[in-house]
Amino acid sequence: MAKSQSASLDRKKLLGDPIMVTTIVLLIVFLTVFILYPLAILLVDSFISDEGFTLNTFKRVMDLANFRRAITNTLKVGFLVGIASALIGLLFAYVEVYVKLRTRFMEGLFKVVSMLPVVSPPFVLSLSMIMLFGKAGIITRFLLKIYDNSVYGFWGIAIVQTLTFFPVCYMMLKGLLKNIDPSLEEAARDMGASRFKVFMTVTLPLILPGLGNAFLVTFIESIADFANPMIIGGSYDTLATTIYLQITGAYDKEGAAAMAVILLVITLLMFVIQKYYLEAKSTATLSGKASRERMLITDKSVTVPLTIMCSALAIFVILMYICVPFGAMFKTWGYDFHLTFKWFGQVFTKYKGFKAFKDSFVLSLISAPITALLSMIISYLVVKRKFKAKGFIEAVSMLAMAVPGTVLGIGYIRGFSGGLFGSGILQGLYGTGAILVIVFIVRSLPTGTRSGISALRQIDKSIEESAYDMGADSFKVFMTVTLPLIKDSFLSGFVTSFVRSITAISAIILLVTPSYLLITVQINEFAEKGSYGIACAFASILILITYSSVLIMNLVIKHFGTSRRIETAD
């Protein structure tokens, strides 16, 4: 049996569609040049020296005591943060899905918590952690009268990262718990199991793969995190910060490349396990929709402690965010609590705030529509079309999810500062705003693609086939059918990408040149210097921007979204 004829016919059909072919070729070039190539160049850098293939660079960096320490530090933090976030996420998800607490207040709390990871710039919690619990911290110094408390180091990073990442776990686990058929648990209850027993023997085993999934996702986020360890890590270095210092402090490019390769290998390994083993497993066990409403737990002995735990945590996190604008309004944090607009003023008068906001805003605004469109095109190709390079496109755009920003940044420095392969081609890109836009795109592409893919999977493939059958070519089908049907996903991809870009730091900080001032880089700089007032002022305005863009998006979707109308159709 030879399948050659259908393959060649499919190829012919594809080639008869020039727009489609051009799109695919451009996509492959883009993904290869801006994702694969920079990573490949890191391998070249670290394995090949003037004398050819060598392991010396790896030996050299492994001999550095601080690098070995950074590896163990990173893994230790990642492990703890992964477990803590998964557990807290489970607590929140369980309370939302299983426990009856339908008060306005609690609903609001849960909503805020679920929105935090979307709108929060990466290091805001580190800032407020220092301001609340540091040497001059309001809680430590003024309430508890502890004058030498140090928040820097292992516990600081771990707490801040846990509070930053647990909402992601909460959202993931909420989806899984909702899919559990309540009759499974009712059957167990009916046979005489206590509520705790049901949780341990039915609910928990069912979501165990999902819990593992949540753990790994957080683990990857934690070890890739640059901003928090930078600000609150103190002398406790993690891989991301060590790599950054290796290239910006020691100017050791080969060494940094080798370190980046090691970090990349760790995250890739975790990513592969997560993506291809746990993700499949966690949805396979819980694919069915719940058959009917779940009887919520009303038992006071369960609801009261769970409610208190959740609200306390949620309020604590919200307080930490509120702390930031106040930090920007006190004269001297920790000493002089008179309100002042001095810091906000200085942002704009002394520290070129306008330029910083303009640069960040404009670059993010350029990259957002490109990212949104690109991810919709990729998802369309992946879900709806079949062609040879499809696997490549899907794999590479998902791969970008596992690449820590710091690694990508080093890859771009090594890959583009001298042009492609040092040849000078595309060298003009380096140091421009364009390369920053490209980094923004690459960093947000996986999330957009993911949401596009899941939106497209909901759409019956015959809807597009019918348009195709009526005589529309691929381009026409995409523009008149696909895109209108996933408008919501497109819009949210637009905003998510905008917010991610404007709050990005890890890769950008390595690539930005003095001609561009970016808000996040400014915040990092002032926080490092200890100028918390200025840092907070910058951060408050940033939060304001991100929060209002999400609000605007929700309004737009509410008014112009089509998906809702379509969903109610069947």
């Binding site: 050659s4 008869g16 086939e465 070519d473």
Partner: protein, 353 residues
């Protein structure tokens, strides 16, 4: 209405798929040779997984054949994409564009053909009245019932005046009553439009009611191409006999031309070119025999049940049990379980395989 009726010809068409579980290749369609006359209504009929939908999707262009060539009229179309083929399909799930209203759904294909607004408007209104949806232009698709959505899908396919109209189990999402009235409707519209139609279904009564010819498929193979009557009375093999209507298979031995011995009795039965002395299976339809105290082939009643329109019997004949339905049981003798009876065959009802 259609500008030109087109025939369809499939020459040695095969499609190979990979079994996702075993990873082995298998033929979803194997060496199909089909000739469809211009203007005729042809049904691809078979159980699920027989390759009927794959065949239809190859004609539409969504799948590419691994062997053979497909012709639309006299034009080979293997390498054409679906949008360049002169076919229009009515989908099982209707596949209406949910973000458009009825008018825009029907006008979609016309707009792609760059017609002017006035012509489009006229054509859409005309076709909507043909399918019985006049005045519904401005509704959204989700405001229509399943049957109405099906009509829109039909109108949308008809309005572009395709050379061939394709139907992929269009009625399977409708309730039983609506299915029956819609199939009559589809047949009427096809005749009125004078268009070539290829229709996929697994429902044999639907196929019989609607088609000029049926193409019966099983396991990727074309088992028979004929009129529904021929398929019923002269099935090519046991599968076709069993799939079209109900069939009993009696063991027999060919005694002479058109004479077969069944359970010790010689009966008249079409034997075709079968040799004398050959063993054969004789196809007996449940309504093809009546019972009597004496007659041709003897048997024992194993089951007897009043069904209203008929009395349902299971009769043990030799090693096989046959199902017999005697209509109008009120005026006939009712046999009980254990009774010995004789089967009498109506003229021209037996067919040996």
């Amino acid at each position: 209405m259609a500008k030109e009726k087109k025939g369809v010809r499939l020459e040695h068409i095969s499609k190979i798929y990979k079994d996702p579980k075993t990873g082995k290749d298998f033929y979803a369609v194997k060496d199909a040779n089909i000739e469809i006359e211009p203007g005729s209504f042809v049904t691809l009929l078979g159980p699920s997984g027989c390759g009927k939908t794959t065949t239809l999707r190859m004609i539409a262009g969504f799948e590419s054949p691994d062997e053979g060539e497909i012709y639309l009229g006299n034009e080979p179309i293997n390498a054409l994409t679906p949008n360049k083929r002169d076919t229009a399909m009515v989908f099982q799930s209707y596949a209406l564009l949910p973000h458009y209203n009825i008018f825009d759904n029907v006008a979609y294909g016309l707009k792609l053909r760059k017609m002017d607004k006035e012509t489009i408007k006229k054509k859409v209104i005309d076709i909507l009245s043909l399918v019985g949806l006049e005045g519904m232009e401005n509704r959204m698709t989700n405001q229509l019932s399943g049957g109405q959505q099906q009509r829109v899908a039909l109108a949308r396919a008809l309005v572009i005046e395709p050379g061939v109209l394709l139907f992929d189990e269009p009625l399977s999402n409708l309730d039983a009553k609506l299915r029956v009235s819609m199939r009559t409707e589809i047949r009427r519209i096809q005749q009125e439009a004078g268009i070539t139609a290829i229709y996929v279904t697994h429902d044999q009564s639907e196929a019989m009611a609607i088609s000029d010819k049926v193409i019966i498929m099983n396991g990727g193979l074309v088992e028979q191409i004929s009129t529904p009557q021929e398929a019923y009375y002269y099935p090519n093999n046991k599968f076709v006999a069993d799939f079209i209507g109900e069939a009993n298979f009696l063991e027999g031995v060919v005694k002479a031309q058109d004479v077969v011995e069944i359970n010790g009795a010689d009966v008249k039965c079409a034997t075709g070119s079968m040799e004398k002395g050959a063993t054969c299976s004789v196809v007996l339809r449940p309504e093809g025999a009546f019972l009597g105290d004496n007659g041709q082939v003897q048997g024992t009643v194993k089951y007897s049940c009043f069904m209203g329109a008929y009395q349902d019997y299971h009769i043990q004949v030799g090693n096989t049990q046959v199902k017999i339905q005697e209509y109008n049981p009120k005026n006939k003798k009712i046999y009980k379980v254990g009774d010995s009876v004789f089967l009498n065959f109506e003229e021209n009802t037996l067919y040996a395989l």
